[in-house]
Symmetry: C2
């Protein structure tokens, strides 16, 4: 059964938990929440990049990396429930339908993202700017790995 | 100097760090990011509530509480830079101008929020449903304490 395969995959990569307990919100809430979660990650990534490119502030990088890690482990996969491949949150969703049908690929890119986010927090804690730069690159690739598969091109 | 007083207050309550290092993004980015941060907190609060009201899933509550804690300590106060009391992110900002002028009150309500968020994560880790319910109430009051002071009434 396709849905169960996806649910298991989402669970396996630690993106969920919502599938185990309460799925909350209407489709429009779930889409707005996941768009917000992604923007919060985007803000945090932009902050790390600003610290790499400018004056390196260890505390700020830790704040951003801890936020990324908490969200990566938050169960936000539960915000991608069947039936939310279309609809509007803050704006129309740009998720590809493939996210709801390709469990193997979802597991692969989701696992890579979780691993990279957990490692980013560890590296940030060391305060080593060069290591932060390297892991930021790895994490960016992991983000892109999921976006390339499951996100439609952003409308400019 | 008014700006410095606010910066010091924001820093003191641990909401910032951004004031120390790079302030990133245009006004529209900062407003969209802070609206996203608040929605991510709202999603996490809704999840904890669903677990209190329905079947209690310890892991889901921990995920949500850890997200709340990370964001409360993320330096999101840095997204409220002078000049962003008006403007549009996902939508028009509904911050009150008082947030940029009442440093003492900002420190008071911000400190209460940080403390309640850190305590929420501790309590969630115990898996004690009754204690989670009690601390969820405290945290909700802390959220409301800031909203009452500094957020305009939501447009319906």
């Amino acid at each position: 059964m396709k849905f169960n395969k996806i649910a298991v995959a989402v669970l396996a990569i630690g993106l969920s938990g919502a599938t185990l307990a309460q799925n909350i919100g209407k489709a429009e809430d779930q889409i707005r929440w996941r768009q917000s979660v992604m923007q919060t990650q985007g803000w945090s990534m932009a902050r790390i990049k600003a610290n790499i490119d400018g004056t390196f502030n260890k505390d700020q990088v830790i704040q951003a990396a801890n936020t990324i890690q908490a969200i990566a482990n938050s169960g936000s996969g539960g915000l991608f429930q069947p039936g939310t491949d279309t609809g509007k949150g803050w704006r129309e969703t740009n998720v590809k339908p493939e996210m709801f049908s390709n469990a193997a690929k979802l597991k692969e890119v989701g696992s890579a993202y979780n691993k990279a986010a957990n490692e980013m927090a560890k590296v940030a804690a060391t305060g080593d700017a060069a290591a932060v730069k390297a892991q930021f690159g790895n994490l960016g690739k992991a983000c892109k790995g999921c976006h390339d598969e499951f996100r439609k091109e952003e409308k400019k």
